[in-house]
């Protein structure tokens, strides 16, 4: 897509009004909440958010809601199925003239990585199979955050979590959810980071011009679960992008394109050393080996790009 037709050329084109309500019970410095408000400022209130169990369950606690528009809480495994029901119902109402065009809503699934990478994967794949017209926002905080950051299928190799406190940290590897989506050949899928709001806004603009299943997989630093000061939340995002650990890319028209190519990638240590969950890697030679492994994986990934 050419840059010229786009609305968001620079940060000055950004919405200045904050549409998402304050007063939520999310932790100070929550990277998930940050990306939700950036998205909400762009999408606006003609939306219904279908929420999967996770940290964001607590966005709406009776009688308080930060949404200007609508919301439905479902369960951990089946938010995309809830979106299916709501989307189909809205279509039925539109077709039978019980809902006016201007009353229509964009259906948005809001899910953490715990649901997205694991329990909710079947429902997500089903919604993709059916070509459901919806936006899927996964705030990926790389663990079961709401229960105290146990490892999830999104946890990076080596990270200490409440259930991987041993020497090597988490033994598994982070699942590649972006590629899982791409394998379904959806109209749109992208990774984003709230630390790069312009990239995010451009992606939101693109996905709004498309219909069908559209995903935003959002890097969501978690001060509580990852062990860093809340003030560094955005900087952690910057470092994830600059080290190449979190590639910013999109799947569109059947092809993967990287939207940000870090010119000179920083060593992954710059990212790792600022988080308590990786502190143990710097304390032993075995840990150093894991750091080298992580660096190697990032290098191999970027060698494959271009």
């Amino acid at each position: 897509m050419s840059e010229s037709g786009m609305q968001y050329r620079g940060m000055e084109d950004f919405p200045s009004t904050r549409l998402f309500g304050s007063g939520t019970p999310m932790c100070a410095g929550c990277g998930g909440l940050l990306v939700i408000h950036q998205l909400y400022d762009l999408l606006g209130s003609d939306t219904v958010f279908i929420n999967a169990a996770g940290c964001m369950t607590l966005l709406s606690v009776y009688p308080y809601t930060p949404f200007r528009g609508s919301w439905l809480y479902t369960a951990m495994a089946s938010a995309p199925a809830g979106a299916q029901g709501v989307r189909d119902a809205l279509d039925i109402l539109l077709e039978s003239d019980r809902l006016r065009r201007e009353e229509n809503l964009e259906v948005v699934v809001l899910t953490g990585d715990g649901a997205a990478y694991g329990m909710g994967l079947s429902a997500t794949s089903g919604a993709l199979d059916r070509g459901l017209d919806f936006i899927y926002l996964c705030y990926d905080n790389e663990g079961y955050g709401n229960t105290g950051q146990q490892y999830s299928p999104a946890t990076p190799h080596g990270a200490a979590t409440s259930t991987s406190r041993g020497n090597g940290g988490f033994r598994g590897n982070k699942k590649d959810l972006f590629s899982l989506w791409a394998a379904h050949n959806p109209p749109y899928a992208a990774t984003v980071s709230a630390s790069e709001p312009l990239d995010l806004a451009r992606k939101v603009e693109k996905l709004r011009s498309l219909r069908g299943p559209r995903m935003l997989l959002a890097f969501s630093p978690c001060p509580t679960g990852w062990g860093f000061e809340p003030a560094q939340s955005v900087m952690i995002g910057n470092l994830a992008v600059q080290t190449g650990i979190w590639p910013l890319k999109e799947f569109i028209g059947g092809k993967v394109e990287h939207t940000v190519l870090p010119e000179k990638r920083l060593p992954v240590e710059e990212y790792l050393k600022r988080q308590g969950r990786f502190a143990h890697l710097f304390a032993s030679s075995a840990g150093r080996d894991i750091i080298a492994e992580l660096q190697g994986a990032v290098d191999r990934y970027w060698e494959g790009v271009r």
Binding site: M11, E12, F14, S16, R18, L19, F20, G21, S22, G23, T24, P25, M26, C27, A28, G29, C30, G31, L33, L34, H37, Q38, S45, L58, L59, S60, V61, Y62, P63, Y64, T65, P66, F67, R68, G69, A194, P197, P223, T224, E229, P230, A231, Q232, S233, V234, M235
Partner: protein
Amino acid sequence: MYRIRFHGRGGQGMKTAGRILGTSFFLEGFDVQDAPRYGAERRGAPIFAYVRASRSVIQERGVIRRPSLVVVADDTLAGLPEADVLGGQSADTVMAILSDVPEGTWRSRLNLDSPIVCIPRPDAIKGYAGQAMAGVCCAAVAARLCGSIPKSTLARAVREELGFLAPSVLERSLSEASRMFDSLAPYEAVVRDRPDREFSCDNPPGWVELFHDAAAVAAPVIFGGLTSRLLKTGMWRTFRPVIDTARCRRCWWLCSSFCPDSAIHVGDDGIPAIDYEHCKGCLVCVARCPVHAISAVPESRGVRQENGEEAV
């Protein structure tokens, strides 16, 4: 029975305080209950933990309704209705506050006749990083004020509960606990081991018949938007960001876009304003402002500056 409630903020180690105190009593042969109370609230939000200790078997359950001791780790909570520091306070409830404000001021502010012990805040808990140490200090306060726990037992309990920490942090915790314990010698055993019950046999429970409400009333549905604004998450702050408008370059988007809580709004003049009712004090804006026009100020000082009691 001793009934102790610790009030603090998420991140200030109130659960730790409860566990250290619980273990201390346990080591002294008491029957014990200790528990933290969680809600939706996160780091910085008012939370509490509680401990019961008795020479006989404890049959009570759940939150303490009539405390014999209330320990307040963060004096900014004392006046917050949401924190309910004063809940169940009676004439013989001892209130211990870590605060640099004198006891007389608290007595008139809180309108209390019951005993108040004001303890100057140790330096160790003043910085952002030291907050977790507040829990250790509070446990020491409670141990001394209850008077049934020797210092050696307190130290043993600290080791048991915090043994997983780095040796240097454990040593610092032990020395803070010891210093706090020693400094409170005049208050040894001001809290009484009371044999009373938490309930009265004379008060009716006040039950009401719950009648059927129409479905549109009785469904868990919010008819409307943005009601979360009624929740003043500004009370979570321990530090507040303050904008120096003279320095602000009026880029208008940066601090506002990066504020996770949508608590910074930019006026038509391009000058951002922080909504202190909702700002949780994460200080992302302080870290992001490219011209360093936003600084972090301890909340208590920020309040005094806001009230004109201290120069900015």
